[in-house]
Amino acid sequence: MSLLSQLDQIFVLLQHWVAGFFPTWLQPFVGTVLAVVGIVAAFPGIFAVTTVLERKGLGRIQNRLGPNRVGPFGFFQPVADGIKSLTKEDIVPFTADGLVHFLAPVVLVVAVFLGFAVLPIGRNMVLANMDAGLLFFFAIGASTELSVFMAGWSSRNKYSLLGAMRAVAQMISYEVPLLLSATVIVMMTGSLSTVKIVEAQGGFTGFLPHWYVFTPWGFAGFVLFVIAALAETNRSPFDLPEGESELVAGYFTEYSGFKFALFFLGEYLGMFSIAGFAITLFLGGWGAPFSFLGFVPSWGWFFLKLLGAIALFIWLRGTLPRLRQDQLMNFAWKFMLPMTLLNLVVAGAWRFMGEGILRWLICSAVLLAAYVLLGRVLMRHQKLGPRSYRYAE
């Protein structure tokens, strides 16, 4: 085995090496525990780095410095934040439903962590290679809604409840386009297994990869998936459930200390897992972007792409204002849903049209025309558009 491929498989080899110390009947169990420990250690670590990067990135976007006091360039900020949230008083409102109030953040974090089980982080690096991995991910994603509801309801606070209702309504609505835009990939790959999906994107034409995002339907699907993912993870511009100008902090208004930190962690982990799935489905998972870059370890590519996706999310957050609840719903049902349905049709057509430039032209034209038309109709319908102004001398 060459050194490079050993580097590629370093975590897998490490797992096998450690498990080798245990009796044979215990080895699968130990191996699983090790993999779980790896995931539980790695992603919160990324969470810590992301909070700093997000604050620094937003700062730079806003012409500020961002945190730069704790440690070199402020990179120990999450340590300080962690200590702070651990030592803060844990306030439970007097009228709150104690048990549910306590369970809500736990349920959220557990559910979110489960999502990582089917995420292929690198070659041979998936915790559970399930036949229906994609389905598992969406099933787990659906159960985070419950914890949001639990948090909002148990706080006995109007803002919390309003925030929870908004969040749940939003998550349910955007689950539809999220699922439908991922269905395209299933249609093309013929499998729900995340590993197979990544492998299907493994080839190269010249030095360009066969990622699904480089096809018309894949690109449209990617954009739709990212928009739905933003809504699903309550990121700006869909951060209404915690819109501080209206709802103080939404469903976690009444949380403090470490429970608040858990919500925070859960939100970011949700963002990572959904971004990881966007990468797996459309951006070739752990595959290298160019054939000549294949020597870089596969997990390296995955985390690089994840960082890129996070940067995109931060960039969007720094730029866009927030939508309103009814506009959010309108957007989901009147724009996202038709577009994803059309994308399904286009993907089917693509599949049966055969190779050639023609299918490229036709599919792109159909999607583009639908997009422009739909956008125009929506804007026209609500009488939106640029305006001109008159002057008095």
């Binding site: 209404l240 720094g318 309103r324 009814d326 939106l384 640029p386 305006r387 002057y391 008095a392």
Partner: protein, 385 residues
């Protein structure tokens, strides 16, 4: 719009609440993150729709008028800074104008130019930060606000260099200005003014075409011109409804008739128009500044008749008003010949523009209430005084 075709305004009657409908009463404020200070709105909601809205203010009442009646004319000047703490220089000007009318003082030409320059700089920084706050309420993570504050910092540096203070300038005096421009100030001001169009372009590129902004602002919080006139709304709020009323053009106070500038007018009276009117007014202010900095003459900056100590105007009354960034700011003074005014009254644009809040908000969403409130552009210091 002439007075003839103005109808008597009747408040809209909401009687669509069917029996058994439960209203959710939410008290937004006084410690709500988006009320620009301490302000409360008692909102009755049907779902998320506003059925009733009762603004409650007075949390920041500081007895400004009574204090000014007990203090000397000069000692009231620093208190005017604290009315609308974003635009202390225009507040100074309005008060100085009222006292000048009362005491019959003449302002030297150079002082008038300085007043115009500082007032227009104030207008630009106020409009920029007001847009920033509006976007903050729309959830834009503070990006436009930070850009606005970046520019505002430069303007405040200018103010500090001239007046010694960034926000509480306390600069204008009865019959002129307090200190002469420091050497090199005009050149610095010129470079900053030259940089402003770029900043306004940046804000516009970031916001004006943004579809989310359009969706949130267009057709929201519509104010009709007749209601605006009847309620005494002034400033960008009024001009966004299409009423051509700018005191700089109407009163010709100071030396504004020497400058060439236009008054932008909106046609819809919604949040988007208010936003755009502010952007366009900033552009017009830049042209005024260019002219003023070019034309400023040399000369004295104080009326020699004006006295610092023992200032006692003859008995009489005067009302001085200017086009402050937020609207018509007026000071009404009655003198009984003593060292302090007998009656001192402020006409605060923020308070009067806020009176129509309920009419603009009815039927909209809670989320829109926050936006509509933000688009009025108020400072609680001026509302409650």
């Amino acid at each position: 719009m002439s007075t003839a075709d103005m109808k008597v305004y009747r408040p809209p009657v909401i009687d669509i609440i069917e029996e058994g409908d439960e209203l959710l009463e939410v008290a937004m404020g006084p410690h709500h993150p988006s009320t620009h200070g301490v302000f409360r709105m008692d909102v009755a909601l049907d779902g998320e729709r506003v059925i009733r809205l009762k603004p409650v203010f007075g949390y920041l009442h500081r007895n400004h008028e009574k204090i000014a009646e007990k203090a000397s004319y000069l000692a009231a000047m620093p208190y005017t800074d604290r009315l609308d703490y974003f635009c202390s220089l225009t507040n100074n000007w309005a008060y100085a104008l009222a006292v000048e009318k009362l005491a019959g003082l003449e302002v030297p030409e150079r002082a008038e130019y300085i007043r115009v320059i500082t007032a227009e700089l104030t207008r630009i920084q106020n409009h920029a930060s007001s847009i920033g706050f509006l976007m903050q309420e729309m959830g834009a993570s503070g990006t436009p606000l930070m850009y606005a504050f970046r520019e505002r910092e430069r303007i405040l540096d200018l103010f500090e260099e001239l007046t010694g203070s960034r926000m509480m300038c306390n600069y204008m005096r009865f019959g002129g200005c307090r200190v002469e421009l420091p050497t090199g100030w005009l050149a610095k001001a010129q470079t900053i003014v030259d940089g402003l169009p770029k900043f306004i372009d940046e804000i516009e590129a970031l916001l004006t075409g943004n579809e989310i902004l359009m969706a949130r602002c267009q057709g929201m919080g519509i104010l009709k011109p007749d209601l605006a006139i009847n309620a005494g709304v002034t400033g960008p709020m009024l001009r966004a409804t299409g009423v051509n009323y700018d005191l700089r053009k109407v009163d010709h106070y100071g030396i504004y008739d020497r400058f060439k500038f236009r008054v932008p007018l909106g046609d819809h009276g919604d949040i988007f128009d208010r936003y755009m009117i502010r952007v366009l007014e900033m552009r017009e202010s830049v042209t005024i500044l260019h002219q003023a900095i070019k034309d400023i003459p040399a000369g004295p900056i104080m009326d020699p008749k004006s006295k610092i100590r023992g200032f006692r105007p003859k008995p009489g009354e005067a009302y001085g008003r200017i086009e402050a960034p937020k609207g018509e700011l007026g000071f009404y003074l009655i003198s009984d010949g003593s060292g302090n005014p007998y009656r001192y009254r402020v006409r605060p644009p923020s308070l009067i523009n806020l009176t129509i809040l309920e009419d603009m908000c009815l039927g909209h969403n809670v989320a829109d209430v926050v936006l509509i409130f933000g688009s009025v552009d108020i400072v609680l210091g001026e509302v409650d005084r």
